[in-house]
């Protein structure tokens, strides 16, 4: 029996705009195991960031969690807390947010305050959440900054964000996120705004910290290469729905959903020298006017009008599911030798 830390069940998040309702997250379910890394991958507009915010109950109006459960198991045998059912400003949510579940964002430039020193931003939350004296909180902050590989942490505390490089800012964010020893770290595109060399440093750092602190990570990205490097399990999202859920090896070597397959074939890969990349036709549709039936059907090469009206979330194996009515025929087609 896997040790579940967080279980999301049939989560719906809608944005109520004057032009209409946008179903940003539309019935997503998944589980995160304690100490494991779940990768969430999808293109822009698939709802992955909104979902991350929903888990912390941070969706602001006009957005709202409409239905679904977010069950958080603080201890292996404790009863779950349904984060979705709590008031988003309640003391209980605020304790979980940052204290038990921490989050780092894509753009470290905007998530640090421009008018406060690093020390001002770091020490106060540590004092509040861990109930430490100012001096003890400062020592803790110095320790954390050193742990994420920043040189001269004491001096760094007196700096402002504009004095730091992108990689340093992201490390500061990680140190802040770790300050209360979270059980789950949600990382929303943490390496998108940095260079590949810095990205490799940050991924290495996150892996090392995970080994050390045993936290679970929910890693959100659009980069398949990063998912392959860091995730244990993967959720592929498209237009607010999860289209495929499996372990990382299955996603990359035996994907069942046409969208996952197409995504993997559309990136240039050093291990397969292709003359041309395969493309997914068309564009991601406008979220106001979602396609009927299978959301992916206008772009799908296997679409059959009669069969794809209402695709079930089919179980391929015990831990592998895909939202496609034709997974079995597609498997057969693919296994036939192509002429």
């Amino acid at each position: 029996m896997p040790d579940i830390l967080l279980e999301v069940k049939d989560l719906h998040v809608n944005f109520f705009l004057t032009e209409g309702t946008v179903k940003a997250v539309n019935g997503v379910s998944f589980k995160i195991e304690r100490g494991k890394t779940l990768g969430i991958v999808g293109e822009s507009g698939c709802g992955k960031s909104v979902m991350a915010r929903a888990i912390l109950n941070m969706v602001r109006p006009p957005g709202r969690i409409v239905s679904g459960e977010i069950n958080y198991y603080s201890q292996p045998d404790s009863p779950p807390i349904n984060i979705a059912s709590l008031n988003r400003n309640s003391a209980q949510v605020r304790r979980i947010r940052w204290g038990e579940i921490a989050m780092i964002f894509q753009e470290p430039m905007t998530s640090l305050s421009p008018v406060h020193t690093i020390s001002n931003q770091m020490i106060e939350p540590i004092q509040l959440h861990l109930n430490l004296s100012k001096q003890a909180a400062k020592n803790h902050a110095v320790e954390l900054l050193a742990r994420v590989g920043l040189p001269n942490p004491e001096q760094l505390l007196t700096r402002y964000r504009h004095e730091l490089s992108g990689g340093m800012r992201q490390r500061v964010m990680i140190a802040m996120a770790l300050s209360c020893n979270p059980k789950l770290l949600i990382a929303d595109e943490p390496t998108t705004a940095v260079d590949v060399t810095t990205q490799a440093q940050i991924l290495n750092l996150m892996r090392g910290l995970q080994d050390e602190f045993g936290m679970a990570i929910m890693f959100i990205t659009h980069a398949l290469g990063v998912i392959a490097e860091i995730a244990d399990d993967v959720v592929v999202m498209y237009l607010g729905e999860e289209v495929e859920v499996a372990d990382v090896d299955t996603i990359f070597h035996d994907p069942s959903h046409p969208y996952t397959q197409a995504l993997l074939r559309s990136i240039p890969r050093p291990d397969m020298k292709l003359k041309r990349l395969e493309t997914i036709k068309g564009n991601v549709p406008d979220p106001m006017h979602l396609p009927q039936g299978c959301k992916y059907h206008p772009r799908c090469r296997y679409y059959i009008p009669t069969r794809c009206a209402n695709p079930p979330f089919e179980r391929v194996s015990s831990e592998h599911r895909a939202r496609c009515a034709r997974i079995h025929d597609i498997k057969e087609q693919l296994s036939e030798p192509t002429s």
Partner: protein, 336 residues
């Protein structure tokens, strides 16, 4: 310079002054050496990739080649069909505008800010044609329609404004505008970085098709190594304003001759969980280009640095036929 060479950049430098301001005076304090002695050639119909981390000077190189920045020093010799071989570094903007810029065009990274929101697609694409008086008034519309079809857009779209289009479609419009004047060289500055994964492939395929169809030469600037490997014939790796390695693409990826290239390639994630390996990430940060380290600029981060690297700047030299590296120990090191 052989007949086939379209562009020959020789020891190109672009230094930006940093001023120390007094109340009445301003003095140059020091220089940001954004591009510091870069040399390369691009043959007709060749795709040269330029890779490196942010701040290494790849965009400034592209802009200086184009003449958008006046080079501090060096030559940019372009084989112009009308003028013959000319050094663009010596030309003034007037001459550049008159003779050169319809042969060298630029594709930008951000398709949202590079198109004027108040112009229709027809106006956007026709503007360079009108400026160069390439066609009669009546023929322009047909040419715009042809260009739109060429980049995979419907000609009916020509009366619409850019806001009606997605990022990938806008990037196609930018490509159509660049092609409108029949250029020979396209400088593509991160043309797919702002696009979604599934759209990237469409634009890359389009660039590849156009290159083959019109025998275009590209200077393809990117930080994405897998994209560069897919598209380019040759690749140049830049670090703090200098080229550290340049070679044919497969040769560069399989037969690395510079420690920085090794570090850069090993940092790039592989889209295969079975290929996960313990990386040796690069320590430290890119140096400040206004105050670079002594000797080899890479030595503070290099795993193989020796004393010589601290004092002596390595020149870019041909270590194997067609394979250039700026490392003192290129022959001795066995790089992955």
């Amino acid at each position: 310079m052989t007949n086939d060479t379209l562009l020959h950049v020789n020891n190109l430098k672009k230094h930006f002054p940093i001023y120390k301001r007094g109340i009445f005076t301003q003095q140059v304090d020091r220089y940001v050496k954004a591009v510091d002695g870069v040399s390369f050639t691009i043959a007709r119909g060749e795709v040269l990739g330029l890779v490196g981390e942010s701040g290494c000077g790849k965009t400034t190189t592209g802009r200086t080649v184009l003449g958008a920045e006046k080079p501090t020093d060096g030559e940019v010799i372009f084989q112009d069909p009308q003028l013959g071989a000319v050094d663009l570094a010596q030309l003034n903007r007037e001459t550049m505008r008159k003779y050169i810029w319809h042969n060298i065009q630029l594709i930008f990274q951000d398709p949202y800010s590079s198109l004027n929101p108040r112009m229709t697609l027809e106006q956007i694409i026709a503007e360079p044609i009108r400026n160069y008086k390439l066609l009669e008034r009546g023929a322009i519309r047909d040419r715009v329609a042809e260009l739109l079809r060429l980049v995979g857009l419907r000609p009916e779209y020509m009366s619409r404004y850019p806001h009606a289009f997605s990022g990938g479609q806008r990037q196609r419009v930018g490509i159509a505008r660049a092609l409108a004047v029949n250029p020979q060289l396209l400088i593509c500055d991160e043309p797919v970085s702002a696009l979604d994964v599934s759209i990237q492939a469409q634009v890359l395929n389009l660039l590849q098709d156009l290159q083959e169809q019109f025998q275009l030469a590209y200077l393809f600037i990117s930080h994405d190594l897998s994209v560069v490997r897919h598209l380019c014939d040759r690749v140049a790796v830049m670090y703090v304003g200098k080229i550290v390695e340049i070679a044919d693409t497969e040769d560069l990826f399989n037969n690395i001759q510079h420690p920085y290239t090794e570090a850069l390639l090993s940092s790039a994630p592989t889209p295969d969980p079975r290929a996960r390996r313990k990386q040796v990430p690069l320590i430290g940060e890119v140096p400040d280009p206004s105050n670079p380290p002594s000797g080899c600029y890479f030595h503070p981060r290099c795993l193989y640095a020796k004393e010589r690297c601290v004092v002596e700047t390595p020149p870019l030299r041909e270590v194997q036929p067609g394979h250039w590296s700026a490392c003192h120990f290129a022959e001795e090191l066995d790089l992955g």
